[in-house]
C-alpha cells in the first residue's frame, strides 16, 4: 500500500472512478495539461484522454452551469473551481439551478455532480485565495457540502461524492493537501456521507471541528490531556446535511461543547451546531457552548493569516473555558 498526501489521494480517487465509470468527466481551469494548480488532476488527461479531461474557458459561472447541463444529460462531471474565493460568479448557477433542479422538476431532471475547490488559508496565498465560505453553500437546500481532512477520508469521501445522486460541493483544505502522508489502499471503497468522524475519543469536552483546524484541534486535545482534560475530537466532514446525532451523543456524554472553525463566526456552520445542541441537549450541558473561529473580519492578507486562523493557543483556552476555568 502506498503512502501518499491528501492531494495524491484525491487524484487517485479521480482515477479509480474514471477507470470504472466511463461517464465520469473532469473539467475546470488548468485541469488538463497542467493537472490543476495543486496537481489534483495531474496525469488524468494523459491517461483518460482529452475528451474526458477538459480545460474550460476561465469562467466559474460557466463551469458550474456547464456541469449542471452535463449532469442532466447523464455525464458525471467532476468540476474544479480553482479557489473557493472565486466561487461568487458561480453562485447563481449553484443556488438558482444546481441546488433546485431536482425539486423544481419534481425529480424529472437531476444533476449529480461534484464541484471541487480548495478551501481556507494558511499557505501564504494572494488575496482572495484563502476563503472559507462553507456557510454560503450550507444555507442552500439541495446541496451536499463535504470537507475531508486526511488522505484516507479524501479518497473515500470523493468516491462517495462522485457516486452520490445529489450535487456535492467538495471542499479541500489547502493547508492539508501536502500536510501528511497516509497509507491509502486504491480499492474504490467509498466512505459514508452525512457522517461525522470521531478522530479522538474523550470524556470531558466535545471538540467539534472540520477542515484544516482539525490539525490544531487534535494538538490542543493532546496538550489538554496533559492538563488532565479528556477531549473528544469530532471531524464533521459532511457540513450539509450534518450528522447532528454523533455530535449530540458526544455532548450528552461530555456535557461540554467547543466548536472550532476557520470560517468567520457570524452565521457560520458552528452557530447551527450550537443552536441544535441548545434545542436538543441544553440540559445535558454543564457549561455554556463556546466557539473558537475566524474573526468577523475580511480574511487578511497572508502576513496576518495565522492571527486569523484559530491557533493552538486559542483552542486550548477555549477548552479551558468550557471546563469552567
Amino acid at each position: 500500500m502506498a503512502k501518499m498526501t491528501m492531494v495524491e489521494a484525491i487524484n487517485m480517487a479521480h482515477a479509480w472512478e474514471m477507470a470504472h465509470d466511463p461517464d465520469v468527466v473532469v473539467l475546470g481551469e488548468d485541469v488538463g495539461t497542467n493537472g490543476g494548480v495543486f496537481r489534483a488532476t495531474v496525469g488524468l488527461q494523459q491517461r483518460f484522454g482529452a475528451t474526458r479531461v477538459q480545460d474550460t474557458p476561465l469562467a466559474e459561472g460557466l463551469i458550474a452551469g456547464a456541469a449542471i447541463g452535463l449532469a442532466a444529460q447523464g455525464i458525471k462531471p467532476v468540476a474544479e473551481i480553482q479557489f473557493m474565493g472565486f466561487i461568487y460568479p458561480a453562485m447563481d448557477q449553484i443556488a438558482s439551478h444546481m441546488a433546485r433542479l431536482r425539486n423544481r422538476t419534481r425529480g424529472r431532471l437531476t444533476c449529480p455532480l461534484v464541484l471541487r475547490m480548495p478551501h481556507g488559508g494558511g499557505i501564504h496565498a494572494p488575496e482572495h485565495h484563502s476563503e472559507s465560505l462553507e456557510a454560503l453553500l450550507c444555507h442552500h437546500a439541495g446541496l451536499r457540502v463535504v470537507c475531508p481532512t486526511s488522505p484516507l477520508r479524501a479518497y473515500g469521501l470523493l468516491l462517495a461524492s462522485i457516486r452520490c445522486p445529489d450535487p456535492v460541493i467538495f471542499l479541500e483544505p489547502v493547508r492539508l493537501y501536502r500536510f501528511m502522508k497516509q497509507e491509502v489502499e486504491d480499492n474504490g471503497e467509498a466512505l459514508p456521507l452525512e457522517h461525522c468522524f470521531v478522530l479522538r475519543e474523550g470524556a470531558d469536552v466535545t471538540l467539534v471541528t472540520w477542515g484544516a483546524t482539525t490539525v490544531e484541534s487534535l494538538k490542543a486535545a493532546e496538550q489538554a490531556a496533559a492538563e488532565g482534560i479528556s477531549c473528544e475530537v469530532i471531524d464533521v466532514a459532511s457540513l450539509a446535511p450534518i450528522d447532528h446525532e454523533t455530535i449530540l451523543d458526544s455532548v450528552v456524554k461530555t456535557g461540554r461543547l467547543l466548536i472550532v472553525h476557520e470560517a468567520a463566526r457570524n452565521c457560520g456552520v458552528g452557530a447551527e451546531i450550537a443552536a441544535t445542541v441548545a434545542e436538543q441537549a441544553l440540559y445535558d450541558l454543564l457549561t455554556p457552548v463556546r466557539r473558537v473561529t475566524g474573526y468577523d473580519t475580511i480574511m487578511p492578507f497572508y502576513r496576518l493569516e495565522h492571527d486569523y486562523i484559530p491557533s493552538l493557543a486559542r483552542i486550548l483556552d477555549g477548552i479551558r473555558a468550557v471546563m469552567g476555568d
Binding site: Q73, G107, G142
Partner: protein, 424 residues
C-alpha cells in the same frame, strides 16, 4: 474545416438588406484570424486522445508607424422569406412545399395565441399567477419547434410556449407552472427538455453543458437555447457562447429580440447595432432573421441545427420580433411605448402573415379557420378545467425532492409542516 464560414448563410446573404450598413469598421465576414483560431479549436476538440495543440495565432505584418491596417472584417447577414403581407420575397426553401408541415405550424401558432389570451384572462380573474404573454412572437417560437428533432434538447426562457407545445408539453402543464405548482414542469414527451428559466440568461451555461455532453458522447443531436434581448447583456450569455465557440459545441442559440426587456429598449441595452454580432466575439457564425416570418425561422434554425448535429459547431440567430403584449400581467407597457409603435408592430404580426401565405396558395380557408378556433377553444377549456380541478400538492412535496433521500432533519421538518398544513 473552417466551420466559421457558413456557405448557406453566405449564399442567402443579400447585400441590400445587411443591417450592418456600409461602415467599413463594423462590416465583417467571419473569417481571418478568428476563423483560423476557431477551426484550430474545433480540430482540437475532435482529436480526443491527443494532446491539445496550441492554436497558431498568425502575426499580422507590421504596419508603418502611425498606420493602421484591418486585421479582421465581419458582417451580419439578414434573411427573410415573406413580406409583411405574406408574399414571398423570392424563391422559398424546399420545406415550404410541405403543406401539411406549414398547416401544422400555423395551427400551433394559433393554438399558442388562443391559449395566451385565455391565460391572461385567467390571471385577470384571479385564477392564475403572474403570466408572461407570448403575443406576437409565435412565429419564432413555433418555427424553432418545427426545426428541432425530438432527441434534441430545448432550453427556453419563460415565454416560448409555442416551442413547448410543438414539443408535446401539455397546455395543462403550462397552466400548472404559472398557477404555482411544480408539477407543471413534468414533461412526459421530450423529458430531457429543461423547464422555463426565470433568472435571465442563466440557462445558457447549462445549455452549453448539455451540448458538451452530446459532443463528449459523439451523438448526432444538439441543444437549442433561447435567450431574450435583455439576456444578451448577462455575463452568462457571453460565457456560454464563448465556450460553445472554443469547443465547437453543438449549440444553437436563438436570441428573441422582442425589442424590450420589460421597459428598457434594446437601444439602451447595448450600443451594438445587432444582437447577432455579439457572436463574432465568440468566433461563432451569426445571422439576423425576420422572427415574425415562420418560414425563415424554420429554415435558418433548421440549417443551424443540421450543421451542429454534423459537428459543425454553434450558431447564433437573432430573430427580430415584437412583444405585442405587456411583459407580464404585472406590467403596463403603455408606460414606456407609444400607441403608434404598437400599431405599426401589429401590421407585421406573424399569424396573419402566415395565414395570408397559406390562403394565397389555397392551403387554408375560412371554414378551416373557424374549425381551428373552435378546436383550440375546446382544448383550452378542457385544460383549464383540469388545472382548476387539480388539488394542490401535499406539504410533503416541499421535502420530497430536496435531495435524493430525506435526511433526518428534513423528515422532522416535513412532519412539522404536516401538522400545520393549510387546507386550501
Amino acid at each position: 474545416m473552417d466551420r466559421s464560414v457558413d456557405p448557406e448563410i453566405a449564399a442567402h446573404h443579400k447585400p441590400g438588406t445587411s443591417t450592418t450598413g456600409d461602415g467599413a469598421e463594423d462590416s465583417a465576414a467571419v473569417t481571418g484570424a478568428d476563423g483560423a483560431a476557431a477551426s484550430a479549436a474545433a480540430s482540437a476538440a475532435a482529436s480526443a486522445a491527443a494532446a491539445i495543440p496550441a492554436p497558431a495565432i498568425p502575426a499580422p505584418a507590421m504596419p508603418a508607424a502611425g498606420e493602421a491596417r484591418v486585421v479582421a472584417r465581419f458582417e451580419i447577414p439578414y434573411r427573410a422569406c415573406l413580406d409583411r403581407d405574406g408574399r414571398p420575397l423570392g424563391p422559398l426553401p424546399s420545406f415550404a412545399s410541405d403543406v401539411e408541415l406549414l398547416r401544422r405550424m400555423y395551427r400551433t401558432m394559433v393554438r399558442a395565441r388562443t391559449f395566451d389570451a385565455k391565460a391572461v384572462n385567467l390571471q385577470r380573474t384571479g385564477k392564475l399567477g403572474t403570466y408572461p404573454s407570448c403575443l406576437g412572437q409565435e412565429a419564432t417560437h413555433v418555427g424553432v419547434g418545427a426545426a428541432m428533432h425530438p432527441e434534441d434538447v430545448l432550453f427556453t426562457v419563460y415565454r416560448e410556449i409555442g416551442t413547448k407545445f410543438w414539443r408535446g408539453v401539455e397546455l395543462y402543464s403550462v397552466l400548472m407552472y404559472w398557477g404555482g405548482d411544480e408539477r407543471g414542469t413534468i414533461y412526459t414527451r421530450n423529458p430531457q427538455d429543461f423547464p422555463f428559466c426565470v433568472p435571465i440568461g442563466s440557462q445558457l451555461p447549462q445549455a452549453a453543458g448539455a451540448a458538451f455532453a452530446m459532443q463528449i458522447r459523439a451523438e448526432r443531436r444538439c441543444t437549442l437555447a433561447f435567450v431574450g434581448d435583455g439576456g444578451t447583456s448577462q455575463g452568462a450569455f457571453y460565457e456560454a457562447i464563448n465556450m460553445a465557440g472554443a469547443k465547437a459545441l453543438p449549440l444553437v442559440c436563438v436570441i428573441v429580440n422582442n425589442r424590450y426587456a420589460i421597459s428598457v429598449p434594446v437601444s439602451q441595452q447595448t450600443a451594438a447595432r445587432t444582437l447577432a454580432q455579439k457572436a463574432i466575439a465568440a468566433g461563432i457564425p451569426a445571422v439576423q432573421i425576420d422572427g415574425n416570418d415562420a418560414l425563415i425561422v424554420r429554415q435558418v434554425v433548421g440549417e443551424a441545427l443540421a450543421r451542429a448535429r454534423a459537428g459543425g459547431g454553434p450558431t447564433i440567430i437573432e430573430a427580430l420580433t415584437y412583444r405585442l403584449g405587456d411583459h407580464t400581467t404585472s406590467d403596463d407597457a403603455t408606460r414606456y411605448r407609444s400607441r403608434e409603435e404598437v400599431d405599426d408592430a401589429w401590421r407585421a404580426e406573424p399569424i396573419a402573415r402566415l395565414r395570408n401565405f397559406l390562403t394565397a396558395r389555397g392551403a387554408w380557408n375560412d371554414t378551416e379557420e373557424e374549425a381551428l378556433k373552435r378546436a383550440c377553444a375546446e382544448e383550452i377549456d378542457a385544460a383549464v378545467k383540469q388545472y382548476l380541478a387539480t388539488p394542490k400538492q401535499s406539504t410533503d412535496s416541499m421535502f420530497d425532492y430536496v435531495l435524493a433521500e430525506l435526511t433526518p432533519a428534513l423528515r422532522a421538518q416535513r412532519d412539522e409542516a404536516r401538522r400545520y398544513a393549510q387546507r386550501s
